[in-house]
């Protein structure tokens, strides 16, 4: 019996909320939920009451009455006020979460690319900016391929330190994370259940997605738009790290990139960039070369 009641208490089933606007979204759900319960109990109750009270009796006769305009107008206007109210009340949260002009200044900016069946996440690296790629330069789309999902320009020095993660990403707690999302092949949907984030991503178009998580830990990311047989397995993980943990992780990644690039290029010793990386090198990031690309 308690299990049945547990089913009816729908609100208890939400996954834990970890994002700043998530609580308000859950609250909106709860308000509509209790409103629906009230309307259902009212209408269904009245119906049951009528069904019992006016059940067939041989000596009874249906009441010939064709309706009343005042009653009709009343039960037109009341729901209109209620429903339009819900709509207007919903709109501010909609604007906050989705409107492009409401996307906050990014503390962390990540470019996401979905594919059948997985996710790529690109970080700007030590210099804090992306090199030329399909996100900031449409013409770079021609370079997109299964091995170069972001269409990165290998010539652009600003892109040398950009690094890509597959099926996992990390970001700091209490930071505005802005995700620019697209896909390589078909529609996917970027769904972070715990952060109350969902946005379809479309090939050829870039979506602005933002969230701010207040809790650290490891969580899951799923695809919510049918994308083929492997749709169910298009799972990724993300980790919300403390500020120091995130910095340490970034340092590690940046150092890895230096090693990686050091093997490939002849690292010209430019002045040290102003990142808080301890491994002072990060040389080839070429922050001075502002010439190209990033203008888009």
């Amino acid at each position: 019996m308690s299990d049945v009641l547990h089913i009816l208490d729908m609100l208890a089933w939400f996954p834990e909320n970890i994002s700043t606007y998530g609580a308000e979204l859950d609250w909106m759900f709860a308000v509509i939920y209790w409103l629906s319960v009230a309307i259902f109990v009212l209408t269904f109750g009245i119906m049951l009451w009528f069904l019992v009270k006016y059940r067939y009796r041989p000596d009874r006769r249906g009441y010939n009455y064709h309706g009343n305009n005042i009653v009709e107008i009343t039960w037109t206007i009341l729901p209109t006020i209620l429903f339009v109210g819900i709509g207007l009340w919903s709109d501010s949260m909609w604007e906050t979460t989705k409107y492009a002009k409401k996307v906050p200044v990014a503390d962390v900016e990540i470019v996401v690319m979905g594919k059948q069946f997985g996710w790529y996440f690109m970080y700007p690296g030590a210099d804090g900016k992306f090199g030329r790629n399909a996100y900031n330069d449409r013409t770079a789309r021609e370079m997109m391929s299964a091995t170069n999902p972001f269409g990165r320009d290998s010539v652009d020095p600003a892109g040398k330190d950009d690094f890509v993660m597959e099926n996992q990403f990390k970001f700091p707690v209490n930071a505005n994370v802005v995700v620019r999302g697209s896909t390589l092949d078909v529609l996917h949907s970027f769904f972070l259940p715990h952060a109350r984030v969902k946005q379809d991503v479309i090939p050829g178009t870039w979506m602005n997605i933002w969230f701010n998580c207040f809790k650290t830990g490891k969580f899951e990311l799923a695809c919510a738009e049918l994308c083929g047989g492997g749709h169910y397995a298009m799972r990724a993980e993300y980790e919300v790290l403390s500020r120091t943990g995130y910095d340490a992780w970034l340092d590690k990644k940046n150092a890895e990139m230096i090693v990686l690039n050091g093997q490939a290029t002849t690292a010209p010793a430019a002045d040290a960039p102003t990142s808080d990386t301890t491994s002072a090198a990060a040389t080839q990031t070429a922050a001075p070369s502002t010439s190209n690309a990033a203008k888009h």
Binding site: I7, L11, F14, L25, M28, F29, I32, S36, I39, F40, T43, M47, F50, L51, Y54, R57, G62, Y63, N64, Y65, H66, G67, V71, E72, W75, P79, T80, F83, I86, G87, L88, S90, D91, W94, Q116, E142, A146, L184, D185, V186, L187, F191, R196, V197, K198, D200, V201, I202, P203, G204, T205, E220, A224, E225, C227, G229, H231, Y232, A233, R235
Partner: protein
């Protein structure tokens, strides 16, 4: 006019049509009577048989899906062993593959919507009810009517033959969003399940349009003498407005399907952006198409299609409720205006399917407001149904039980719709099982219960036999219980974040604790599926051994009950003149508690009550009940 004169008249007409044939006896050949018939009642029965067959096909597909969700990785009992172990099942195991799972759910949705609900709601009831309820002999365009049915069986065959293509059925969901549905990874000019899906739906669309054009012209031109538009029963009104929606919406779907067919078959790029990277190759030949455009075109039809699937049932349920509550419909005109408002607003709300699609969020705001307003006419209808029950004398026949189930399930389906109409709330529940629960509460809890109500109500007029009441109630009881046990817990799955269309939820940690609910749903779904056999058994048994139906078994008012118990071609055996509206139950100053539309008599209306002034006794030779 007597029965014989009608038959002779009908015969002369047909002889004129087929002067090429020279039959010794004045009978239509059997295939013109039962197969390629132009009789609207035969066509209605054909729609019913076809759609009920597909109901079981679509239902079986749903049970495969449910089995996999409840017991992932376990072979399907009995049937699993006979499925081919290519892309259908994993070799030697009887476990369906993820690819086949996606095909099953795509076909489940497609079949249930385009081959079950629309043929039943618009095809069967439209054909059966319209000529009888407006008191005419047949449709305005009987040949076109025959075509509207006979496009469906080939369409169904084309759809189902996808199984025999190399990759199987269409696998992009019933919505078939490109680029997935464009099959860019196979070479052009390859026939895949998706190509067949597009061709098949194109035919279904033409079938709908032919039917709808016919309904509109019949209702406008062929009403019985004395029948004003506002004397028509709500069933006819609902079908009339539905037909208008079909004629406006379906061509748009056809254009979308045609464009997608080009993309799919000839690799054009209406919906495909440049530089797609598919698994097969770097598909750089595509141009600057926009995938979201298809969603706009598709939902411009397919949202009104939701109303095409439910409005006729709203009309039918109104008629059934008025008859068994022995009450006039509360607010007859308000009901008509509400249907018209739903139809009109229905064309302005398609964007609520696309809140998360990546369209401009400003459109989200506008579509949210228009969508939430459509709840108003829906609630007007619910309140009017409650008003109809008020002070009635309610008989709980099988038809009435199903109609009451329609109203209560429609309340739940309508309320759960408010959640997703609110765009920010939709962020979380979009593409989760909450949506699945909602659509099934509207289309099964709503439409299918309405269809059952209609079948129980009009079966006597269709076959001249009564359906068995006891088995009717058993069917209702099991269906209603199993339906709620199946679909209500899906709301919970959705709230917990369970995505739609996933093959195995257990790979996600946050979904693992839902396994018990998934199992519960599957067991309920099995009960739900098998309890439909009661209905089929009842129909087949009653056709042969059922009690002979009287002319007007429910003592109802509308014109179809003036026809003989089992009307032949031409329907009526007397001239029909309409004297009053369709819902005059419990009229003051009259002994009987109903007053059929065709019976002469004068009345006045005082403060929304009808009072009889004089009445002519029923002519006993017609045996009104």
């Amino acid at each position: 006019m007597s029965t014989t004169s009608i038959e002779q008249h009908g015969h002369v007409e047909h002889a004129a049509h087929e002067n090429g044939h020279d039959h010794a006896h004045h009978e239509l050949p059997w295939f013109r009577k039962y197969v390629f018939s132009t009789d609207h009642k035969v066509i209605a029965k054909q729609f019913m048989i076809l759609a009920l067959t597909f109901l079981f096909v679509g239902g079986a597909f749903a049970l495969f899906i449910r089995w996999q969700l409840a017991y992932p990785g376990e072979p399907i009992p009995i049937i699993g062993s006979i499925l081919p172990s290519t892309w259908v099942t994993q070799p030697g195991s009887g476990v369906i593959t993820p690819e086949f799972f996606v095909q099953l759910l795509s076909m489940h949705g497609t079949i249930m919507i385009f081959f079950v609900i629309i043929p039943l709601a618009a095809g069967m009831f439209g054909n059966f009810c319209i000529p009888l309820m407006i008191g005419t002999d047949d449709m305005a365009l009987p040949r076109l009517n025959m075509w509207s049915f006979w496009l469906l069986p080939p369409a169904g065959l084309i759809m189902m033959s996808g199984f025999f293509t190399e990759t199987g059925y269409a696998a992009a969901g019933w919505t078939s969003y490109p680029p997935l549905s464009a099959n860019t990874s196979v070479p052009g000019m390859t026939i895949t399940g998706q190509t067949l899906w597009l061709i098949s739906l194109f035919l279904v669309g033409f079938s709908s349009i032919m039917g709808a054009v016919n309904y509109i012209s019949t209702i406008i031109n062929k009403r019985a003498k004395g029948m004003k538009m506002f004397d028509m029963p709500l069933t006819v009104w609902a079908l009339f407005i539905t037909a208008i929606m079909i004629t406006l919406g379906t061509p748009v779907l056809a254009s979308g399907l045609a464009m997608l067919f080009m993309d799919n078959f000839f690799h054009t790029s209406f919906f495909l952006p440049d530089n797609l990277v598919t698994q097969a190759r770097h598909a750089s030949q595509y141009g600057a198409g926009q995938p979201v455009l298809f969603q706009h075109v598709f939902w411009f039809y397919s949202h009104p299609a939701v109303y095409i699937m439910i409005l006729p049932l709203m009309g039918i349920v109104s008629d059934v409720m008025a008859t068994f509550a022995r009450k006039p419909i509360y607010g007859y005109k308000a009901m008509i205006f509400a249907i018209a408002a739903i139809a009109g607003l229905g064309f302005m709300v398609w964007g609520h399917h696309m809140f998360m699609s990546g369209m401009n969020p400003l459109l989200g705001t506008t579509f949210m407001l228009s969508t939430i307003v459509i709840a108003v006419p829906s609630s007007i209808k619910v309140f009017n149904w409650l008003g109809t029950l008020w002070r009635g004398n309610i008989r709980f026949t099988s038809a009435m039980l199903n109609a009451l189930a329609f109203v209560s399930m429609f309340i739940i389906g309508g309320l759960s719709g408010i959640f997703m109409a609110s765009a920010p709330v939709d962020i979380f529940i979009h593409d989760t099982y909450f949506i699945v629960a909602h659509i099934h509460y509207v289309l099964f809890g709503g439409s299918l219960f309405g269809i059952f109500a209609g079948i129980y109500y009009w079966f006597p007029k269709m076959y001249g036999k009564m359906l068995n009441e006891t088995w009717g109630r058993r069917h209702f009881f099991w269906t209603f219980l199993a339906f709620n046990f199946t679909f209500f817990p899906m709301h919970v799955l959705g709230v917990a974040g369970h995505m739609r269309r996933v093959y195995d939820p257990n790979i996600y940690d946050f979904l693992k604790h839902l396994q018990g609910i998934n199992e519960f749903i599957t067991i309920s779904a099995l009960v739900l599926g098998f309890s439909q056999l009661i209905l089929v058994g009842n129909i087949i048994w009653s056709m042969k051994w059922g009690k002979k139906a009287p002319r007007n078994p429910w003592r109802a008012n509308t014109l179809e009950w003036a026809a003989p118990a089992h009307p032949g071609h031409g329907n009526f055996d007397r001239d029909i003149i309409v004297y009053r509206g369709p819902y005059e139950f419990g009229v003051l100053g009259r002994e009987l508690d109903y007053w059929p539309q065709w019976e002469p008599g004068k009345s006045i209306s005082v403060h929304h009550h009808t009072i009889a002034l004089e009445e002519t006794p029923i002519k006993p030779e017609y045996g009104s009940h």
